[in-house]
Every structure is written in structure tokens, then in C-alpha cells.
């Protein structure tokens, strides 16, 4: 009798835990600073990230687009460089030096326009969060702005 009760309790607990896990939805506007472990990361592509950008719609020239890079410098001055240095030194977030060599262009554009879902899913971003402890804020970048900032990052990495 007593055993049955214990089994029932465990079964109930298991049920509750399972339900809890399933009900946990990613919160797109979340400002939560804790690391949220997600189970449903199977469809996440760490090479592309999550968002509207991919190989097809982010096309880079071999040489720098100076107009884009200049506009990107202005935009990042307003929205990014409070937290990111141009060197490899970490301020609030990691330094930008070499970022275009470490990440694909479309991953970068997805991340800066759609940070919250990616922070929730990307294992490398979660590791980064444990270091920085501040989730990168969504700075409401327009697509064009994101593209310009990408070009400015390329300039910072020596593309001529």
C-alpha cells in the first residue's frame, strides 16, 4: 500500500515535470538574465542562427562597400558601441575584432536583429552569457541598419 503511494507520487512528479518542460515557451521579449536551458534545439542551425537571413539573402562583395560601412559606423555608435569595443577586449559584450571571421554573415545579421530566441538556443551564446551576464538587448535594428553594421564589422576586420 505504502509502496503504491510512493510510486503514485513519483509518477505524478514525473508528469508535472514533463508538463512543465513542454509548457516552457521561449519568450521573445524576455529580459530575463538567467540562462534558460531549452530542450527543443534540434532544429537550430548554429551556422545560420535563427531569423530571416540566410545564404541567399545576404550576399557580400569581396571588397568593402564603403557607403554601407560608413552608415554602419554611425548606427553602431548609437546602438552598439556602448557595450562593444572595436578591439578584442570585452566591455559589456565581447569585442568586435575578428567577429566576421568567427561567424557567418547571416548568423551575425540574425543575431543582432533577433537576439533573444538565439540566446535561448545557441550553445555558444549561452556560454557567452555565462561570461557577460547581460543578454544582448534587442536594439530594434532595421534590416538595412543590420546590413550596414555587418559591413562596418568587416571594415573593422580589415576588409578593404
Amino acid at each position: 500500500m505504502r509502496n503504491i503511494k510512493i510510486i503514485l507520487v513519483f509518477a505524478t512528479l514525473a508528469f508535472v515535470i514533463a508538463c512543465g518542460g513542454n509548457n516552457q515557451k521561449p519568450t521573445p521579449d524576455s529580459n530575463a538574465s538567467s540562462v534558460q536551458k531549452k530542450s527543443e534545439v534540434s532544429d537550430y542551425d548554429p551556422n545560420r542562427g535563427e531569423g530571416k537571413f540566410n545564404e541567399q539573402n545576404v550576399i557580400l562583395d569581396a571588397s568593402l562597400n564603403k557607403a554601407f560601412a560608413d552608415a554602419g559606423e554611425i548606427a553602431s555608435g548609437v546602438k552598439c558601441t556602448s557595450c562593444h569595443k572595436m578591439s578584442s577586449e570585452r566591455l559589456v559584450g565581447p569585442g568586435w575584432k575578428g567577429v566576421t571571421e568567427r561567424r557567418t554573415p547571416y548568423w551575425l545579421m540574425n543575431f543582432i536583429t533577433n537576439p533573444d530566441p538565439m540566446i535561448d538556443k545557441d550553445p555558444e551564446l549561452q556560454a557567452q552569457l555565462e561570461l557577460c551576464l547581460v543578454r544582448m538587448p534587442n536594439q530594434s535594428l532595421a534590416d538595412e541598419e543590420a546590413r550596414n553594421i555587418l559591413e562596418f564589422m568587416r571594415k573593422n576586420d580589415g576588409v578593404k
Binding site: N31, G77, S82, Q139, S140
Partner: protein, 662 residues
């Protein structure tokens, strides 16, 4: 012995049960089993309605969800609010400017949602200041007070802000009649009948921008205006105002203003008034009032003093105003959704008169008058009366409608809500409230199309409802399910200040109206904005030191400032660089004589700080913003007057020195 004790206890129990069953105001008898389920809205799920509730003597407006009763926000309107820096930041101070100077408090009585074709349109909500007469417009995209206009020739702006069915006008009727502003007010108070006048202001509202303007005022006999309601549908073009103290007493009004059997509901043909104005019959009059407007791009309020208003003296025009006799000291004069029935609620009357708009028109056409009141035709009571609800309760105050043919009237003295049939004037249901109910609210209950699922009662007295909190208790709002034949109380929740009237609108109407989540930093036109850390700086202008500061998770720039001297005035212009919803930053500094700032994403806000001693003063962010929020802080150094400490500022390891001032 034991049996005796049991018997004794049983006896006490019986007496208690009997006693409590005799008390009509027993909570247990009013709430049935499924009440909690009906009002429960699970965390993360949205309420069906926004409820905009007046904050009474708090001077603010609060926003609740229905049916949950959850408090979402307190919008600062007429009173300073340190939580949001309202009235403390340099940009918001002009919003509380009046012809009397900066007025940090008022008494917000009623709310009015803007309408199109007699239906709520979700654009704005208006509120009145009762004490220093003003009307405010709150923008429902930002939930921020966007405009405040002072009302001249008035005192006690109680009879407001009631609106027409396309928000053509918001009206403001004076509670206290007073000598007009351009007259010599240094008169004996007991010359009331000779020198005191009433004024009703018609404030026009631009349907695109919401911008308000006092279009005209009606000069009326010196009575007290209490509440008002516009005509709608067939009675569009008319406005109805309840009056009291038609005796024109000026002392001990509780007796002296209750002498007459009947006071009046004043019916105003405002379309007719418009015609006279167009024909140039209005008289320009010297007044002084403040008009304060908020600019969402400059994040700044501007106050302008205006000096003229156009007045129509209604005694000179026999077809603008008519007096409808109404027993006795009427409070509400509420118009049903069809526009045909006008319900008068005499606070001291034992019946509810219901007037007919059609009969009113016929009586006017037939000149069915019972003399005049100071030049205004008085209509014959029986000629305009549709019928009376007999013995409905004690102390009727205010009526809302469900659009299904029923009216709901609050009874202050007998503490109950009475539901009655408008056509046959029979009472069909009544429920107790706890206690002394004032206004009622049905979502859309003052429109052509009410949304009759819930009714909220706003009660004045709360004793034995909630946990005691000293001599003062929060006022109580009670939510009733009115979807069935019988009203059912499903929730009882506390409110701020003293809520008078409230209105509610379907949630979709408000949350889908283009709600602003952030201020776009690109659109920030504040003259001292810093768009990015590279623009942060400290500039001396004489004895004024302007700090162009930025805030982002989790630091300020600059966060080290030196070279401020005693005798300086320091202005912190803080720009929040965040472009993410719900991430304001705060700014507070030790010894500040005003308050903090709460800066919305993309906004610039200014705190004035006058150091009172030499030393090091820390500042910090007051709104928890990230795991490193506690680290979001900085220092400012204050040196003695005349000291040579150079003005420097930096963040991180990048010290910079101010460029020389020209």
C-alpha cells in the same frame, strides 16, 4: 457539563447565523462557488478589458484588467509622481503649470474614453482636475499624459470630462459658481446671487492629433454643476447637465441647498450654440489659463499661457438652454444607448425620474414652460417625463446601461445596485455592495453599443472587507458578472485614491491601436540628447553644468565626473540608449531635492541637481535592468566654489577633457 457547553455553543452559533442572515451586507451570501473561476485570468493570459479608473484625491489615473482586477499601471496626470519623475524632471514640470504657477496635486474625478459614432475608438482617455480646474488628455498609444488645459471662469471642475459621440467636444462644467475671471472678485460672499456665475466650457478635440482648445464657454446662472452626459444617436447635438444648489446658497449647503423639491437638469442644444458663435454672437473675454502640451519627439512639455476665451451668455439666447425639473439634488443624468431616455438621479429623492428626448423636443416646440430660471425656460416636469421608477432604493447616484434594455443604478445610502427595465420601469434585480457605492462602470456603458459582460461598482467605504491597514482602508471595486439575468459578484479588489467614475474598453481596441513599445532613438529630437556614448559629454555654461549622459545595460556614460563647484546647477540629461521593450533605466543622485528619473527606451529626461556641499556624490540606476544592474552606478565630485579642479568626465579607461568653452 459537556452537553451544556455544546448546547451553549450551538445557541451562540444559531444567534450568529440568524444575525448574519439578517445583515444584507454579508459577503458570503453575495459570492457563490464559481466566482473565483469567472474572474481568474492565468498569468501570461490577457484580460478581456482595460479599465481606466480615476484616482480621486491621488490625482492620477489607474489602469486595471477586467475580469482579473489586476493593476497594470498608474498613469501620472495631475499630481507629481516620484515613481516616474512626473512633475520632477525638467521636461515634465511644464505639464503641471497653471495660471497659479506650478500645482503639484489635484483631484481626478472622472474619465472619458474618446468615441467615434458613439463607440469607443481607443485613441485617448480624458480626465478632469476638480480642484484647480483642468482637463487632461492621455494618449493610449503611450499611456502618457499628452495635454493638460486649464479651465478659466471656473472653480471645482466636477462636471467633466464628458464627451460628445464623436469627441467633437469634451465639456467642463464648474462645480462652484464664482465671479467671472475678468470681474472684480473682491465682493461679499453673500452677494452670491448677484455676482456669482456658472460657466460650462466646450473643449474641441482635433480628431487626428487629439489637440484640445477651449472652443467656447456658456455663461449660466450661478448654480453648482455636478455631472453631465451627451445626447447620442437621436439626441446627438444635445448635452445634459445635472445641477444642485439652484437655491444659490453660499453657506451650510447641506441644508440650504436642499430647500427646493426639485433642482434642474440643464439641457443644452450645443449645435444651436455653434450657430450663434458662427454668427459672431460670442463675446471675447479676458482670462488667463495654461495650455500644456507634451511632445513625444522632444520628450518635453511646453506650457503656454492664454488670455482670451469666447463666451455666450445663455440668458441672451432663449433656445440654447432649457431647465428640466428633477427631484432632488440630481447627481447622474445619464442617457441610454438609444439617446431617447435621460435618467435623473436625485441624491435625496426616493424615485428615479426618466425623461424622454422626444417629449423634450415636443415640449420645447409647444413652449410647455413653467416660467423661467434666470432667463432660461423651465419645462413642465410632466411634459418631459417618460415615467418614474418608484421606490428603487435610497440615494440614487449614477446609471449605466447594458444595451439590452436594462439600466443599472447605484444607490449610495442603501448600498446596492438596482437593475431595472427602461421600457416598463420595473426593478428586475438588486445586489448589495460593500459599502456606499458611487459610480458604476459597464464597458461602453455610456456609448451606443455597450459590451455588457461585466459591471464594476466603485465603493466609498471598505470596512471589514480587507486586512486592516490602520485607520485608512483602500477603497473597494466590486466586479459583477451581468451576462445572465441576475447580477453575480465575482471579485472584490482595492483601488488607489478614491475612484469616482471609470470606463472600460475591449482590450483589442487599445492594444491594437499602434501601441508604442519604445521611442525610436532616431526620432529623438530632445535638444540635449546623446545618441550614443560618443556623444556623451559634460559642458559648462556659466554656473550651469550640463551632463549629456547615456544609459544602457549596465552602465552610464560618463560615470566619473569632476570639476563641479559649489554654486553650480547640474543638469543630468540622461538618454536611454535601449531599443528594447520594457527596459527603462532610472537615475538617482544623493541629496537630490526632487526625485529620480525613469527614462523610457529611446527617451531623454533631465534631472536638475544643486549640490549643497563639497564631496563625492554617487548616482545609480533605480530600475533593475540586468544581472549587473547593481553595478550601474557612478560618481560626481563637487569642489569648493572658485576651486581650480578641471571639468573632466569619462567612462572606462577613456578619460577626456572638456573642450574649452567659448
Amino acid at each position: 457539563m459537556r452537553t451544556n457547553l455544546l448546547n451553549f455553543l450551538a445557541g451562540i452559533l444559531t444567534v450568529l447565523v440568524l444575525l448574519s442572515s439578517c445583515r444584507p451586507k454579508n459577503a458570503a451570501t453575495a459570492i457563490s462557488g464559481d466566482a473565483a473561476v469567472k474572474s481568474f485570468v492565468a498569468p501570461g493570459q490577457y484580460d478581456e478589458y482595460y479599465n481606466f479608473v480615476s484616482g480621486g484625491f491621488s490625482g492620477q489615473m489607474s489602469v486595471y484588467g477586467l475580469p482579473s482586477g489586476r493593476l497594470f499601471r498608474v498613469i501620472p496626470v495631475f499630481s507629481v509622481d516620484p515613481e516616474k519623475g512626473w512633475g520632477y524632471s525638467e521636461e515634465t514640470k511644464p505639464m503641471l503649470n497653471t495660471s497659479h504657477g506650478f500645482v503639484p496635486w489635484d483631484d481626478l474625478h472622472h474619465v472619458e474614453l474618446s468615441q467615434t459614432n458613439g463607440e469607443i475608438n481607443g485613441k485617448w482617455v480624458f480626465g478632469n482636475a476638480n480642484n484647480t480646474p483642468r482637463i487632461a488628455r492621455i494618449d493610449l498609444k503611450t499611456f502618457k499624459t499628452a495635454e493638460i488645459i486649464e479651465i478659466p471662469n471656473s472653480a471645482g471642475n466636477h462636471s467633466s470630462p464628458f464627451g460628445t459621440e464623436n469627441s467633437e467636444y469634451i465639456v467642463a462644467g464648474t462645480r462652484f459658481s464664482v465671479p467671472p475671471d475678468d470681474a472684480d472678485g473682491d465682493v461679499p460672499i453673500d452677494s452670491y446671487k448677484k455676482n456669482f456665475k456658472g460657466h460650462i466650457s466646450f473643449i474641441s478635440v482635433n480628431q487626428e492629433t487629439g489637440k484640445m482648445d477651449i472652443a467656447f464657454q456658456l455663461k449660466t446662472p450661478g448654480v453648482n454643476f455636478d455631472l453631465a452626459r451627451c445626447g447620442r444617436a437621436k439626441s446627438h447635438g444635445w448635452f445634459f447637465f445635472s445641477t444642485y444648489n439652484t437655491e444659490q446658497a453660499n453657506t451650510l449647503l447641506e441644508v440650504n441647498a436642499s430647500q427646493k423639491d426639485k433642482d434642474y437638469i440643464m439641457a443644452v442644444n450645443w449645435k444651436k450654440a455653434e450657430e450663434y458663435l458662427k454668427a459672431g454672437k460670442g463675446k471675447k473675454q479676458k482670462v488667463k489659463y495654461a495650455h500644456n502640451v507634451w511632445d513625444d519627439h522632444a520628450h518635453t512639455g511646453t506650457s503656454t499661457i492664454k488670455t482670451e476665451v469666447t463666451v455666450l451668455d445663455v440668458s441672451e439666447f432663449k433656445d440654447i438652454c432649457y431647465m428640466i425639473p428633477c427631484p432632488k439634488s440630481p447627481h447622474g443624468c445619464d442617457v441610454d444607448p438609444t439617446g431617447e431616455y435621460i435618467v435623473g438621479s436625485g441624491k435625496l429623492a426616493a424615485l428615479l425620474p426618466v425623461f424622454s428626448f422626444d417629449k423634450l423636443q415636443a415640449a420645447i416646440a409647444n413652449k410647455a414652460y413653467d416660467g423661467e430660471y434666470e432667463g432660461i425656460p423651465v419645462l413642465k416636469y410632466e411634459e418631459v417625463l417618460y415615467g418614474e421608477v418608484k421606490k428603487p432604493g435610497l440615494g440614487p447616484l449614477h446609471t449605466e446601461f447594458d444595451g439590452k434594455g436594462f439600466a443599472y443604478t447605484s444607490f449610495f445610502v442603501s448600498s446596492e445596485i438596482v437593475k431595472w427595465n427602461i421600457k416598463d420601469l420595473t426593478v428586475v434585480d438588486r445586489v448589495p455592495t460593500f459599502y456606499s457605492v458611487g459610480h458604476l462602470c459597464i464597458p461602453g456603458g455610456n456609448t451606443r453599443k455597450p459590451s455588457p459582460k461585466y459591471l464594476v461598482a466603485y465603493n466609498k467605504i471598505t470596512k471589514d472587507r480587507y486586512l486592516p491597514t490602520g485607520p485608512e482602508l483602500a477603497h473597494s471595486a466590486q466586479l459583477f458578472d451581468i451576462s445572465g439575468d441576475k447580477m453575480q459578484m465575482i471579485l472584490d479588489f482595492p483601488t488607489i485614491g478614491e475612484p469616482h467614475y471609470a470606463q472600460a474598453a475591449l482590450a483589442d481596441l487599445i492594444k491594437n491601436n499602434g501601441q508604442l513599445k519604445i521611442y525610436k532613438i532616431e526620432d529623438n529630437k530632445h535638444p540635449r540628447v546623446a545618441k550614443g556614448e560618443s556623444e556623451s559629454k559634460v559642458v559648462r555654461e556659466g554656473n550651469k553644468v550640463h551632463v549629456y549622459m547615456t544609459a544602457i545595460r549596465s552602465h552610464f556614460a560618463p560615470d566619473n565626473i569632476e570639476g563641479v563647484r559649489m554654486g553650480d546647477e547640474v543638469y543630468f540629461h540622461v538618454t536611454n540608449l535601449e531599443q528594447d521593450w520594457d527596459v527603462p533605466h532610472g537615475f538617482a543622485i544623493k541629496g537630490a531635492n526632487n526625485a529620480e528619473l525613469l527614462i523610457m527606451p529611446g527617451e531623454t529626461t533631465t534631472l536638475k541637481w544643486v549640490p549643497d556641499r563639497v564631496g563625492i556624490f554617487p548616482f545609480y540606476c533605480t530600475d533593475f535592468c540586468s544581472a549587473l544592474h547593481q553595478e550601474m552606478q557612478g560618481y560626481i565630485r563637487v569642489s569648493p566654489a572658485g576651486s581650480k579642479t578641471p571639468l573632466t568626465f569619462h567612462v572606462g579607461k577613456l578619460p577626456s577633457v572638456e573642450k574649452p568653452v567659448q
